[in-house]
């Protein structure tokens, strides 16, 4: 995963990168393992009769889990700049950032579409209520609304990036909507997901939260230093 492991002769630096690779590996592995621990054999959805829309719901859940991990990677990478790429072992290129962004938005939209679709099939009518935020009602609709608003921010962030040549100066601020979007997604996922508060998942959520907060502080500090010069 990390090319730096092979590009250095120093054993301490090598171990540092191996530890970072292990952290990343764990962050990608644990959600999958937790998901399959609770969901089990996916072929049962095809071998047996299940409730309408159940398989769509399960796929939606899986995509949602990984969409968050990839978004975390992208946000951290963007906030930490070159240091982030070294830490994450990712390419420092616009193409990579754009491809990853495209992948993330596809995952999020698939997650949302499949969930609305699953509920619509179960209800026998289009679940239009899921497309309207509800914060004054009960717990579940409020938490779902966080995800809904996050998806709007993410779409806006993507639009601003696509229009960067037409909106010089402004687009960067619009593109930064991905940061609040990350926090909304994190809270939506943590407070509504069946697996997200299971055992090993909890430290991963805390880790993602802490690293992005650290990255924001780092970015602000860097900006202040730059302004002082």
């Amino acid at each position: 995963m990390n090319s730096y492991v092979y590009s250095t002769n120093s054993s301490s630096v090598k171990y540092k990168w191996i530890i970072q690779d292990l952290i990343l590996f764990t962050i990608f592995l644990v959600p999958g393992l937790t998901f399959f621990k609770t969901t089990g054999d996916l072929t049962v959805y095809f071998r047996h009769k299940v409730l309408d829309g159940q398989f769509l719901y399960v796929v939606s859940k899986f995509l949602g889990l990984y969409a968050l991990i990839f978004l975390w990677l992208q946000v951290l990478k963007g906030l930490l700049g070159e240091y982030g790429d070294r830490f994450l072992g990712t390419q420092r290129s616009f193409t990579f950032h754009r491809n990853l962004g495209l992948w993330i938005i596809s995952l999020f939209m698939s997650h949302a579409v499949l969930f609305v679709w699953a509920v619509s099939i179960r209800n026998n009518h289009f679940a239009s209520g899921l497309l309207i935020p509800h914060f004054l009602g009960s717990y579940y609709p409020s938490i779902l609304s966080l995800g809904l608003i996050a998806s709007w921010l993410m779409i806006l962030s993507t639009i601003f990036a696509a229009l960067r040549q037409h909106l010089p100066g402004i687009w960067k601020w619009g593109h930064r909507l991905s940061v609040p979007s990350f926090f909304l997604v994190l809270f939506h996922s943590y407070f509504t997901g069946s697996e997200t508060r299971a055992g090993a998942m909890v430290p991963i959520y805390y880790w993602m939260f802490a690293t992005v907060v650290f990255a924001i502080c780092y970015r602000l500090w860097k900006t202040v230093i730059k302004l002082q010069k």
């Binding site: 049962v44 047996h48 009769k49 309408d52 159940q54 699953a118 509920v119």
Partner: protein, 171 residues
Amino acid sequence: MIRIGSLVACSLFLVHLLLILNSHMENTIGEKDSGKELLIPKISIPELLTEIKAGKKVLFIDTREEKEFQEEHIPGAQNLTLRDVNAEAVKRFAAVDFVIPYCIKDFRGFELGKLLKRLGLENVYVLQKPGINYWKSQGLPVAGERCLSDDEALRRMQNNLNFSYEEGRSL
């Protein structure tokens, strides 16, 4: 870049197509003609109430988050989320005649029921018309912060439906 983007978009489009096909088949074939066995048997509310009247032990498991459970739940239900299922719970539930996991629309309820079955529990059922929303739509009482106390909800069940729901609550 365009090639990778197209590849991602095409693969996701294909996944969606497969899922459309799957859900279309689910809807058109229907339960009776599909030839597939129900993974978790369904039971209607009237059937369930008859069983309770007959003295069978019924346990409702609310599979939602604790906050949702506190807001409202089927009277006498126990709160257990998917992540908290363990062998001990299965052992406890084995003594009941009907274990009914539920949530809002039974997405989570079904997953928990499936997990319980995987862990060896045979007495798991889902409601014919899924979820607490349907339960409420039938005018059946719910307990919680936003509505009645557990005791009051159980009392109304007993009074209105003329059966001893308490028996079913014996766990």
